[in-house]
């Protein structure tokens, strides 16, 4: 129960950014160009060439020059130039996997917080209803809180978007639905990359669900294999009961959570690989030691090195 006090550390000045191998790179502006990732600030010139197409986060001035309108990383796909903001709220794209929290139950729909500018909408017709494939009934309409209630966490896919820019979600698959048996984290959405799958089972026996909106769910794998047709299972998917979680499992979950936090603090992208690397690097420490700033730095550096290798 010792309380540790620390002094703040000054930020590394640009001239002194150390590479993993210990060399000092002089990151002058001209040299920065060499890097694949180019960080720009609003108003900075990205390209003078008129052949490029203007994408999100950029604008054209009267000389047809492309300028950044946000602080972020320049990305180029063929001729389309975009700037991905470093820190932003999540913008929904169709097909994205997101984790959300129910904020309101209203007429035939739920409002879901997905770290976006507006709450997303989950229609009653877009969820998996208990029982064998069936239509929603009036009874369902009157007891929507039996499925999801205010505060519940769920994983869903973005189905489409409305005129006002808010997204609509669906959970019409057994992969999606209510989240249980674990712990919830928030990371900057830009750190989560779009990958083939966002459900990962790590070697340490922990499930990680990475929402593209920066919400992350770390949990113990469910012991139950779900079957679409089974009546029992479809009741089960809306249950609020956790399975018993042993101390070891709990510790593993906590460790993974802390590793993800360490990565997000070091502003490193969060994928199953980085999490595994960070996890292995963290094994030198006890779980609660990973909260400390110095261990976070060490873990992040080791992970960086392994990524380069």
């Amino acid at each position: 129960m010792n309380v540790q006090f620390l002094f703040p550390k000054p930020p590394p000045s640009i001239e002194e950014v150390k590479d993993a191998d210990g060399d000092i790179d002089m990151l002058l502006k001209s040299q920065r160009q060499k890097f694949e990732t180019k960080v720009v600030t609003p108003g900075e010139v990205i390209a003078k060439d008129t052949q490029y197409m203007r994408g999100h986060g950029t604008y054209l001035d009267e000389n047809e020059t492309h300028l950044a309108s946000v602080a972020g990383v320049v990305e180029r796909v063929n001729k389309l130039i975009t700037v991905r903001p470093l820190n932003t709220r999540y913008t929904g794209n169709i097909g994205d996997l997101v984790i959300g929290r129910i904020t309101e139950v209203s007429n035939k729909r739920w409002k879901v917080d997905i770290n976006s500018r507006q709450d997303a909408v989950l229609l009653l017709s877009a969820i998996h209803l208990p029982g064998v494939q069936r239509r929603k009934t009036e009874a369902d309409e009157l007891q929507m809180r039996k499925f999801y209630s205010e505060g519940d966490l769920l994983v869903a896919e973005i189905q489409g978007s409305f005129q006002d820019g808010s997204s609509s979600l669906h959970t019409r698959s057994l992969k999606y639905g209510k989240l249980r048996n674990g712990s919830f984290l928030i990371v900057p959405p830009t750190l989560v990359q779009r990958t083939k799958s966002h459900f990962h089972r790590l070697d340490c026996g922990v499930d990680v669900t990475l929402g593209l909106n920066g919400y992350v769910w770390v949990s113990k794998p469910s012991s139950r294999v779900l079957n679409e047709m089974s009546e029992d299972d479809s009741e089960y998917i809306y249950s609020n009961e956790n399975e018993p979680i042993g101390k070891d499992a709990r510790e593993a979950i906590a460790r993974v959570c802390n590793c993800i936090n360490a990565l997000s603090k070091s502003y490193m992208s969060i994928t199953d690989t980085t999490i595994s690397y960070a996890y292995e690097a963290s094994l030198n420490f006890s779980v609660k030691e990973i909260l400390k700033l110095e261990s976070i730095e060490l873990i992040a550096n080791q992970t960086k090195q392994r990524l380069k290798a």
Partner: protein, 200 residues
């Protein structure tokens, strides 16, 4: 007769089942209201004919009634205070037989007005402002209103004034007649029952 106050320990939880006005905490049952302790053995007829041993239920009947709040399944009486094409807003004044101290808000959606031909319901042909309506609570509804239904014979308008300002009497389940001008107006009427007879 045993009078108790909230928090009075009544008995062991193993002896009785906690009924209304009581609660169970650890191995005891406590009273949660001011009132009289009562116990009874519930009569349950199981359809299989098996003799099921029922535990005794202990209750505390309230000496002073809490201002009633609507719950699903309650029959309520209220006044129509606002109407749109899709729903009628009702100020719930009485729950069961107990008047509320403060009114609650409920809505009757057009699909809940009557049991048949739901698609053809027009709110304006069923209710008017100021009508006294009897209805059933079907859901706790949204943040603001309870959801009500009048889709049964005994539910609907029980008291209404005509355009001329006089009382109206029901002449069929969807018509009411003014006692003064004999004009007929459209309403979803409740099957008449002598609600106020004792006072008249």
């Amino acid at each position: 007769m045993r009078y108790v106050t909230p928090g009075t320990r009544l008995c062991f939880a193993s002896e009785y089942e906690a009924g209304p006005g009581t609660y169970e905490r650890e191995e005891y049952i406590y009273s949660s209201v001011v009132g009289i302790v009562q116990e009874f053995i519930p009569t349950v007829s199981t359809n299989t004919g098996e003799e099921k041993k029922q535990s005794k239920i202990i209750t505390v009947s309230k000496e002073k009634h809490q201002s009633s709040i609507p719950d699903v399944g309650n029959i309520i009486t209220g006044k129509v205070i606002r109407m749109t094409t899709r729903e009628a807003v009702v100020s719930i004044m009485v729950v069961g037989n107990i008047p509320c101290k403060d009114d609650y808000q409920g809505i009757i959606r057009s699909q809940d007005v009557r049991a048949t031909e739901k698609d053809k319901v027009k709110i304006i042909e069923s209710y008017r402002l100021g009508d006294i309506v009897k209805a059933e609570v079907i859901s706790l509804g949204d943040a603001r209103s309870y959801y009500l239904s009048t889709a049964k014979n005994e539910y609907g308008v029980i008291y209404a004034q005509s355009v001329a300002g006089a009382m109206m009497v029901p002449i069929s389940w969807q018509n009411m007649q003014c006692t003064k001008t004999k004009a007929v107006e459209l309403r979803k009427c409740a099957k008449p029952e002598d609600l106020f007879s004792k006072n008249q």
